[in-house]
């Protein structure tokens, strides 16, 4: 099977300038697959702070998804957050203490693994956010640095020169001669098709006998898929061995705090610094706290049910949604709030089935009426009708 050494020779074909100071760094690459856990002493303080800083970034990624930012926007926002809380400079930035940056990245990741391995739901969200962060970094990595990172791992791909049968499935420049030309300089990687499901789904590769022939420009798909699969596996292993950690009274409370924070979507910018900078508008993240302190009983019950079931039925949504609107929750925040609350459904389902209604109640769809919040008596009507809404309980 293919080994790292072969791969290095293919890189030298391209005569890429090699970075010279690898040897001096503990963490030679900016990118990290997090294969090895941190095997050194860590203070409790570091443990918590590093994790919190990383969590800010992951929460921002999640909220970018919920707000449906484009990939470019997401990348910009994430990079800004990263510079603030978790800077990670290129290896060529010799004036910076790269090792300590990378150590923070490494440690933070592993602490969060502990916090987020406990339920299926948490694992899924953690993997999604971490994968996105990895993609952002992968794209912003310099070419030669990325290449040497890739050659440091064995991805089990078989590099091939082009073969004529691959041309039919080759995309590239629109004009035929240009496509031919770029095809001939393209490198292909042969992997089991099941390692690049995203490319197979879109018919972007050539398939034969269970092998996918991946063109160089889609190589990242293999890397991302590998990252995801490894992390999923690792989280399951961690989840199984976590009970052995239970006797440590210093760490468990921190972990509990971290995972709860992530669940409620608290630690994005608002949670820490933003409170006074905010105007009068309510943010999606504030609803939890407001509900506990200030909401009337019926609304609080609705809110608690929403948190408990990750869902509310139609009249419950209508009633609670209008209440939030009158309270001053802007439409973008409302969509974000509901998206996060319905954490068990896919983005697709949310957009198809719920977003319209939310926008409708803000007068942005349909007859564009500005609905008022329902009064108490109306709640009672609904109660008599037997709808499942807050005041029943």
């Amino acid at each position: 099977m293919f080994k790292g050494a072969d791969r290095k020779s293919t890189i030298n074909d391209r005569a890429s300038p090699q970075v010279s100071n690898h040897g001096t760094l503990l963490y030679p690459y900016r990118l990290n697959f997090y294969d090895t856990p941190p095997m050194y002493d860590v203070t409790v303080e570091e443990f918590e702070i590093y994790a919190l800083d990383r969590l800010r970034i992951l929460a921002e990624i999640e909220s970018s998804r919920a707000r449906q930012r484009s990939w470019e926007e997401l990348k910009a926002v994430t990079s800004t957050q990263c510079t603030k809380y978790l800077p990670l400079n290129a290896t060529s930035a010799t004036s910076v203490d790269r090792d300590s940056e990378r150590r923070k990245d490494h440690l933070g990741h592993f602490v969060l693994r502990l916090a987020f391995c406990r339920s299926e739901e948490l694992r899924r969200r953690f993997v999604e956010a971490e994968l996105t962060l990895f993609k952002v970094r992968y794209e912003s990595d310099g070419y030669s640095e990325r290449e040497s990172f890739l050659s440091s791992r064995n991805f089990n791909w078989i590099p091939l020169k082009y073969r004529t049968e691959l041309f039919g499935s080759y995309q590239g420049p629109k004009s035929e001669p240009e496509r031919m030309e770029s095809f001939e300089s393209e490198r292909f990687y042969k992997v089991k098709w099941s390692r690049v499901p995203d490319l197979v789904q879109k018919r972007k590769v050539f398939l034969k006998g269970g092998w996918a022939y991946v063109p160089g420009r889609e190589q990242s798909s293999i890397v991302f898929q590998e990252f995801q699969v490894q992390l999923e596996k690792a989280l399951e292993v961690t989840a199984r061995s976590l009970p052995r950690l239970d006797e440590d009274t210093r760490i468990i409370p921190i972990l509990n705090n971290l995972s709860q924070g992530f669940l409620a979507g608290v630690p994005s910018d608002w949670g820490v610094a933003g409170r006074e900078a905010m105007g009068d508008d309510i943010k999606a993240e504030m609803v939890d706290e407001l509900a506990q302190k200030h909401f009337p009983l019926c609304m609080r019950t609705l809110h608690e049910n929403l948190r408990k079931d990750h869902h509310l039925k139609h009249f419950g949504r209508l009633q609670y949604g209008l209440f939030l609107k009158v309270l001053g929750l802007p439409i973008e925040e409302a969509i974000l709030f509901w998206r996060r609350s319905f954490s068990r459904i896919t983005d697709d389902k949310f957009n198809k089935e719920y977003k319209y209604n939310i926008r409708h109640s803000y007068g942005l769809e349909g007859k564009r009426a500005n609905y008022a919040a329902k009064s108490k008596s109306l709640h009672l009507d609904l109660l008599i009708m037997g709808a499942h809404i807050g005041i029943i309980q």
């Binding site: 099941s194 398939l207 034969k208 269970g210 092998w211």
Partner: protein, 417 residues
């Protein structure tokens, strides 16, 4: 092959006799289990029963084929379904915590149902099926069977008639059994050309930014083009009616040609689909070679062929490991026909109305019994009926699977030295 008169739903008594004397439990066991001694592939497998009166029992599992037979005879279901292999025995589901009960393996399955062809077939609709519309299914089987074998490299494919208007495919290769839901979704994406719904004129997503078809679809197209002229033009006469040719015209991206053809066809309602297809081709030939318009129209012709003949998959069935699918050799409650395996090589000769019904099989048994003067019941009485060739087919398929498992085990022992 006599007695095709009986197509009435099967009564409970008939079903019970069928399960006791005819249903090939042993063959089903071998096929699901891949070995002679029960493994997790069987013991941790979910079976779901539909009882008389639409009672649905999920999460049953069995240690042996005999145990399965015993419960089937006791419950006498109208049909039963086969689900995935779970981390724990499905019958012990309640004893483990929620997170620890997961589907881990499952045959990769596909379902093609005639109802998805309603927008294009002209001979029947809904639940009906005739030998003429079976041609759609047989075109689909050709494409899927070849695609799965050549592109994905799977070998253990079992096609099963669903008893009324569709066909199922079960793929039992080890690798296919272990696919995750995401990977299953990817295969479905690769195989899907027509994205469901009623809008048959909707654009197909088969070309990427280059004009040429991906190789997998190109090889399918050669086969489909032949079927198109036989099935769509000659047999189904899909563009005969006004509604039919309007649907065709919607897919032609040139308003001048559309206008001309519409006038021509309105004037002469007797023009057949073949004539109309020729008319369209003639119009395109009139254009200068190499112009973008002509290229676009030529591509549109290919798209039309795909639209009318490419397999229409019920995608949801394939995407999730925990989807249940009716077991082979069950009896379709409405037609009484047995869900028998189908040889993809001879799919064109397959006639749904020749498939034995449960009533017919029991009559055959009676005849045999009288002739031999027997009173006692036997377990593999299917050998004496027209069910035999179908059970043989499943046995042969299971044998190939078991051979492969034995071979790979031997290799494992070899390398461990």
């Amino acid at each position: 092959m006599s007695g095709m008169d009986d197509s009435s739903p099967a009564s409970p008594e008939v079903m019970l006799t069928f399960y006791r004397r005819l249903y090939p439990f042993k063959s089903i066991f071998n096929w699901l289990n891949h070995e002679h001694t029960p493994t997790r592939l069987f013991t941790h497998r979910e079976f779901a029963f539909t009882l008389q009166g639409d009672v649905y029992l999920r999460y049953n599992s069995f240690a042996t084929a005999d145990e399965l037979k015993k419960l089937v005879c006791q419950l006498n279901p109208t049909r039963f379904e086969i689900g995935p292999i779970y981390t724990t025995r499905p019958k012990d589901k309640k004893t483990v915590r929620a997170g620890a009960f997961n589907a881990v393996q499952r045959e990769l399955v596909f379902d093609i149902d005639m109802t998805d062809y309603d927008p294009i077939r002209t001979c029947c609709s809904g639940a009906d099926i005739c030998n003429r519309c079976w041609a759609f299914i047989s075109a689909a089987v050709h494409v899927i069977d070849q695609g799965i074998r050549e592109q994905f490299g799977y070998e253990h494919l079992l096609w099963v008639y669903s008893g009324r208007r569709g066909i199922h495919l079960w793929i039992s290769d080890k690798e296919a059994m272990e696919l995750t839901d995401d990977q299953r979704k990817a295969i479905v994406g690769w195989m899907t050309v027509i994205h469901g719904g009623k809008e048959s004129s909707k654009k197909l997503s088969i070309r990427l930014n280059s004009r040429s078809l991906p190789p997998s679809l190109k090889s399918a197209l050669d086969h489909l083009a032949a079927i198109f002229s036989d099935l769509i033009l000659a047999d189904q006469n899909c563009f005969g009616s006004e509604e039919g040719y309007e649907t065709l015209l919607q897919q032609v991206p040139d308003s001048r040609i559309v206008g001309d053809l519409r006038k021509k066809w309105q004037k002469d309602p007797t023009r057949s689909s073949e004539d109309k297809w020729m008319d369209l081709k003639e119009e395109i030939k009139k254009m200068d070679k190499g112009t973008p318009q002509r290229v676009a129209l030529t591509l549109a012709l290919e798209d039309i062929i795909f639209n009318y003949t490419y397999p229409r998959l019920d995608a949801e069935v394939s995407k999730h490991r925990n989807h249940l699918l009716k077991a082979p050799f069950c009896v379709h409650p409405k037609t009484g026909r047995v869900c028998v395996p189908v040889d993809p090589e001879r799919i064109d000769e397959f006639k749904p109305d020749r498939v034995p019904t449960v009533g017919q099989l029991l009559r055959e048994l009676d005849t045999v019994g009288k002739a031999e003067g027997e009173v006692e019941e036997h377990h593999s009485d299917w050998e004496k009926t027209s069910l035999k060739p179908y059970v043989d087919m499943l046995d042969k398929h299971a044998l190939r699977l078991m051979d492969e498992v034995r071979r790979s085990k031997r290799e494992m022992v070899d390398t461990s030295w």
